[in-house]
């Protein structure tokens, strides 16, 4: 049961599908400025359950080299948050899966958080992730705004998050809980899911109100399947971005990537 009355494509998805959800992250404006829509459509066609679009930032401190690199390329391509909002206008004519945006809080502050929430809601975007927005500040300043605009807010938990704080995150989140798999930045090849069973079990047993997706260092069928044992699904970012960087035929390669993750 969700603690809020938010009802959007994200909450509808979790109400109907409980297992094996695949959420793919990609960076807006990467590899080419105008690839955002192409990639979004290709991911839907390939059968992913939802997508998370990254807003590039000059200083993404939670991200490893692969996503940093895609941010730099996208910014050099001329992407801005205003441009992303333009690129997403009208997507609901053809995109029917949940779409959320992930970005660092500074770009949203410069755009104006209220204006951004309203613009995204008008497009039909379902939620946001700001990894560096404090939960307290969200509650104090933005929660009503998000709820009034039917936008979900997703917070992260990590292996070091205390039991008390897990509860707090669950109370405040309104889409799903982003379960960070290991103490890690994104796409850290030195880290994997081995040794995380105890943590994942703890999360599973916590019986959150919100659904859970495990992300960070999920990169293939094996890690996706492992994550799905403990959560409603998994999030893949860096591995997908790496593939995009080497791709010459986006639609075909995206289809193959998704099928490789789902079926192995």
């Amino acid at each position: 049961m969700m603690s809020t009355n938010i009802d959007n494509k994200l909450t509808q998805l979790f109400a109907t599908k409980k297992e094996g959800l695949l959420n793919i992250y990609f960076t807006a404006g990467y590899p080419q400025l105008e690839d955002t829509r192409t990639i979004l459509k290709a991911l839907q066609d390939a059968g992913v359950d939802m997508v998370e679009i990254g807003i590039p930032f000059s200083d993404p401190i939670a991200d490893g080299p692969i996503i940093q690199g895609s941010n730099d390329v996208a910014l050099n391509n001329g992407i801005t948050l205003k441009k992303i909002v333009q690129q997403l206008q009208g997507i609901r004519d053809e995109i029917h899966i949940p779409v959320i945006l992930m970005g660092y809080i500074n770009t949203a502050l410069q755009y104006g958080v209220e204006e951004l929430v309203k613009d995204l809601s008008a497009i039909g975007i379902d939620g946001m992730i700001f990894p560096d927005l404090p939960i307290d500040e969200y509650k104090e300043k933005y929660q009503k705004l998000f709820e009034a605009n039917n936008l979900s807010m997703v917070f992260l938990v990590t292996p070091q998050t205390s039991a008390e704080r897990l509860k707090y995150v669950d109370e405040t989140s309104s889409g799903f809980i982003y379960v960070v798999s290991t103490a890690s930045t994104t796409g850290n090849e030195a880290k994997d899911l081995d040794g995380q069973k105890e943590y994942f079990e703890r999360i599973k047993k916590a019986k959150f109100n919100n659904p859970t997706l495990i992300g960070f260092n999920i990169k293939d069928h094996a890690s996706y399947s492992e994550a799905c044992k403990y959560a409603n699904g998994a999030i893949i970012g860096s591995a997908f971005i790496k593939m995009l960087g080497n791709s010459h035929l986006l639609e075909k390669d995206i289809k193959e990537f998704v099928s490789f993750v789902k079926q192995g």
Partner: protein, 396 residues
């Protein structure tokens, strides 16, 4: 008005802890424990001993007679340049390494721009036998080779930051990423009054020894603890925070913060954050920072690597917004000339950063009876290559 940090970690509209969840446990642990630890008697005793016997405190407050005569006023120099390692940075690293030990941490990371904070961190790690990793922009590693070699000689590992613009801002990002990946046994020694709460307050407290000593020394020399002006340069702002700290609520003391204008405030090659910046979030705190309309953080420029930072500590952003401190900016050329002047008049070769503070005497409306204290934050040894190679350009 209260210019200190409030319970939520804010200085007016600035501060806070805008950090990814992965850093929350470490930063909360620090926030919950730092005040108790640094107020323990055993902590204070150990810190005082090290500051006295190892760093060389108290640093002198020196009446600069010939400089005073030139500007027809009274100028004292607070000689932080005489600290061990050559700058005020070590006041903070001594405090933080003692704190890290009491938190049970066994490994230290730090960022550095010019290498002064890196050297000060490597020094205290050598002193305490702790593992030390310093992140430094790849561009800065090329520019500041002697300090890189000093850090290595002191036993530190110097890791190049190859992301973004490969300078201080990126070294800070890389240090934070490293901390995210190693959250349990590691302490991050931030070098300035920046970063998520409680860092700005923690670093300001460790640097506040500067103004604590100034007050006592001024009583001896002038009969009053309060000068008319305290002048300090500001990059992130740690030496200014220390020099201002005990004067924040002394209304008769004018606080003068000097930013680096680089080639000119509006030249496109500047680090004058209060002139060019807008409120935003950098490295975990809300403050004034140089950025594009889209919120991308821009690369600052100054001849002085220690002032080459796109933000400013949240305490200073609040001092600027409330008008408690007055902000000046000084160009590369003006700072360079001030360094030459101080060398010739007083026999003191200052760091380029500190030369910015000296240069502001040219523009300050001082009276003959005024007492001015300039915080001379560091010495010029590290800048000799710049002084040698760019002399003709700036002194023609």
């Amino acid at each position: 008005m209260n210019y200190q940090v409030d319970k939520k970690g804010f200085y007016g509209n600035f501060g806070g802890a805008y950090i990814p969840e992965m850093l929350v446990p470490n930063v909360e642990e620090l926030r919950n424990r730092y005040l108790d630890i640094i107020q323990e008697e055993s902590f204070k005793a150990e810190m005082d001993d090290l500051l006295r016997d190892y760093v060389g405190r108290p640093t002198p407050l020196y009446l600069a007679k010939r400089l005073s005569a030139k500007y027809n006023t009274t100028v004292y120099l607070k000689r932080e340049d005489l600290c061990h390692t050559g700058a005020h940075k070590v006041n903070n690293t001594i405090g933080q390494i003692l704190l890290a030990q009491r938190l049970g941490k066994t490994r230290i990371i730090a960022e550095t721009g010019a290498g002064q904070h890196g050297v000060a961190t490597a020094t205290v790690c050598a002193l305490m036998g702790m593992e030390c990793t310093i992140y430094m922009g790849a561009v800065d590693i090329e520019r500041q080779k002697p300090n890189v070699e000093r850090m290595k000689m002191l036993g530190a590992t110097v890791v190049p930051a190859n992301s973004g613009s490969k300078t201080l801002k990126d070294a800070t990002n890389e240090a934070m990423r490293h901390w995210i990946n190693n959250p349990v046994d590691m302490h991050y020694i931030i070098g300035s009054v920046v970063g998520p709460h409680p860092y700005p307050d923690l670093v300001a407290r460790f640097q506040s020894v500067i103004s604590e000593e100034m007050r006592e020394q001024l009583i001896d020399k002038t009969g009053s603890p309060n000068p008319n002006y305290v002048i300090a340069c500001v990059g992130g702002g740690s030496n200014a925070a220390g020099a201002f700290y005990h004067y924040l609520n002394e209304k008769d003391v004018n606080l003068i913060a000097v930013e680096a204008a680089g080639q000119g405030v509006y030249s496109g090659h500047s680090a004058a954050t209060t002139f060019l910046g807008k409120p935003g979030v950098i490295h975990g705190s809300k403050t004034l920072l140089m950025q594009t309309e889209d919120g991308q953080i821009t690369e600052p420029y100054s001849i002085s690597a220690g002032l080459d930072y796109p933000g400013i500590g949240p305490m200073h952003a609040n001092l600027f917004e409330t008008g408690r401190a007055k902000f000046y900016s000084v160009t590369d050329a003006e700072a360079f000339q001030a360094a030459m002047l101080l060398s010739k008049l007083e026999g003191i070769i200052p760091a380029l950063e500190s030369a910015h503070a000296v240069a502001v005497l040219e523009n300050l409306p001082v009276k003959k009876e005024d007492v001015i204290v300039i915080n001379l934050s560091g010495r010029g040894d590290k800048d000799m290559m710049t002084y040698i190679t760019r002399k003709d350009e700036f002194t023609k």
